[in-house]
């Protein structure tokens, strides 16, 4: 019991430390704190996606539908439903609840199918939401999207306000960071903790059993459909939360959050970072979004390079960057680098 508490404390402290130093180290390599905040937000969605793909073994090719609808729900809450009394927690809660219902309905239909079929169906549903939000102009402004979203403050603290001034030499100045970053970092910490807990729980073990052999787990007495549906809804809710945060942070949300490319992004981030690893999706998001930011400033060929990296990772590093550090994988970096 004591060891358990110890392990949890160690996990939380180390992760919190990592999140705290990230924007400063990021400055050294040409990143900036705004991008760091966006990375964390998208990382939440990728972490949710990984819960489904990595641990339940279910590939959704439509996670943009949760990300986008979460964003729209938050935006509408702030702009139309409660414009005068907007509350951050209520807004986020609303977005998550909307997405949970959406995921429950779609999941109930889609979960009755398997593998490839499931991917195709989620892809098609995501496309459906894209067209609904595109055409429902009264609500969504169609092509232009919803703009001028002011994030509700927490008490009297505005998230867009900068942290106090403090010169940190090569790491930049503390005031370059807005309160958005620590706020998002705390949410990420909680999401990672939750996802660690979930994977280690009985629920996570049943999911793993279903992933390895669905029929057998059914014979043992578990209902695979229920477990997979639960995983789908949880995974969707995290994507919805990420979308809501992103909409509030950007101050706008448009239909590009609902595209196939966006769904593909979550897949790419998770695979490059490392599927079935806790930190992989977050690290994958950081790597790809950082590279996109740096490389796309220099050449138009960024998306092509991204595609080539993606194919190379699938062919040569099926465990992704993080997964390849794991013992026994084909590209065991820690062994190659003689770290052990």
């Amino acid at each position: 019991m004591r060891e358990r508490v110890f392990a949890e404390a160690r996990f939380l402290i180390l992760t919190a430390l990592g999140l705290a130093v990230f924007p400063f180290l990021f400055n050294l390599v040409g990143g900036y704190s705004g991008l760091a905040t966006q990375i964390l937000m998208v990382g939440i969605a990728a972490t949710g996606f990984n819960l489904l793909l990595g641990y339940a073994g279910v590939l959704s090719y439509g996670h943009a539908m949760f990300y986008g609808i979460g964003g729209y729900a938050a935006a509408l809450m702030v702009l139309k439903f409660m414009p005068t009394t907007a509350n951050l927690w209520l807004t986020l809660l609303f977005a998550i609840v909307v997405v949970a219902i959406q995921a429950l309905l779609i999941g109930a239909l889609a979960i009755r199918t398997y593998g490839i079929y499931f991917a195709l169906i989620t892809l098609a549903f995501a496309q459906m939401f894209y067209f609904i939000m595109f055409e429902w102009r009264d609500l969504t402004n169609g092509d232009n999207g919803l703009n001028n979203i002011v994030p509700p403050p927490i008490g009297s603290l505005s998230l867009t306000a900068p942290l106090p001034q403090l010169n940190l030499g090569p790491f930049g100045d503390l005031s370059q960071i807005h309160y958005w970053y620590p706020f998002t970092a705390i949410i990420v910490l909680l999401v990672l903790w939750f996802s660690r807990f979930l994977v280690a729980s009985q629920f996570g073990e049943v999911l793993a059993a279903i992933r390895e052999n669905e029929e057998r787990s059914e014979f043992v007495g578990f209902s695979p459909a229920k477990y997979k549906l639960a995983a789908f809804v949880i995974s969707g809710m995290l994507a919805g939360l990420a979308g809501a945060l992103r909409a509030l942070y950007d101050g706008s949300v448009a239909v590009d959050t609902l595209t196939i490319e966006q769904s593909g992004n979550f897949v790419v981030y998770t695979i490059i970072g490392g599927v079935k690893t806790l930190f992989g999706p977050l690290i994958g998001s950081a790597l790809v979004m950082y590279l996109a930011n740096v490389v796309s400033a220099k050449t138009e060929a960024w998306r092509l390079i991204e595609g080539l990296i993606f194919v190379a990772v699938i062919v040569f590093l099926p465990g992704g960057v993080v997964g390849s550090f794991a013992r026994g994988s084909r590209f065991d970096f820690s062994r190659i680098l003689r770290l052990r």
Binding site: L53, G57, L59, Y61, L109, A110, R112, T113, Y114, G115, I116, Y117, A119, L120, I121, L123, A124, F125, Q127, M128, F131, I132, E135, I260, G264, V267, I271, E300, A301, R303, L304, E306, G307, L308, F310, V311, I314, V315, P318
Partner: protein, 290 residues
Amino acid sequence: MEAVAIQLFDGTIRGLIYVAIALSLTIIFGMLRLVNFAHGAFFAVGAYVALLLAPKIGYYASIPAALIVLAILALLLDRIVLRLFYAKDPTSQILVTFGIALVIQESLRLIFGGTTQTTQMPASLMQSIPLGFISYPAIRLFVAVSIIVLVGVVWWILVGTNYGLIVRAGIRDRTMVALLGGNVTVASRVVLVVGAGIAGLVGALSSPIFGVDPNVGFSFLVPAFVVVVIGGLGSFWGAVIAGIFIGILQGLTTLVMPAASDVVIYLAMALILLVRPQGLMGESELIRQA
């Protein structure tokens, strides 16, 4: 009444294109257990082949050219990457074909730019043909007739030849076919190459109507997936019926409520899934294996 007739025709032609793409997807899936996300990119490459070659060798000749280019491309892709993935889980296959699609699409964008261009067509196809009470563009009729012929040829190969026999049997049970002495590996290659060729051919064929841009393939690929889901994976007639149904449904919705014409096909898919998760003519056993 005229408007209804025109939408019916337009819808049927869209539907026929869906049918051709869904058919090649579903046969590739049946034989190789590979869902090809790069199929839309193949379609786009075919459209670009027609765009580039039509001014030089003419629109008609550019269509078989697209088929050949895509067949070679598929053969190369198979040699370089795809063959590594046949034995892997469907998820990795989807991911690698998605990656290939990304690479092809972005290469097209870099080379030709993102703007929509239109393939030149012969003057004889630019006129309208009177059909009783409406007159209808000749190019659209040409595309429709060509796809019907194409689907007929595919049907004939599947049912009337020994190759087709191996493919049809392979869709049901690969191992058994191999045990009985059928060369499944070669048949799989042929199916992949012909399937990619069909995507390219249809891309070239329809490029004067729908225009050519790097994303053109995706706008047909996703509805084609819906057709495969509705019709049932691995089913020939399922794809044909579902494709035409979806096309006409889309056409008629345009008439009543244009804004809903893209949404309606996904609603139809949801409804059909509710009643028949395996699709109209799919076999649940095949889906379980997927």
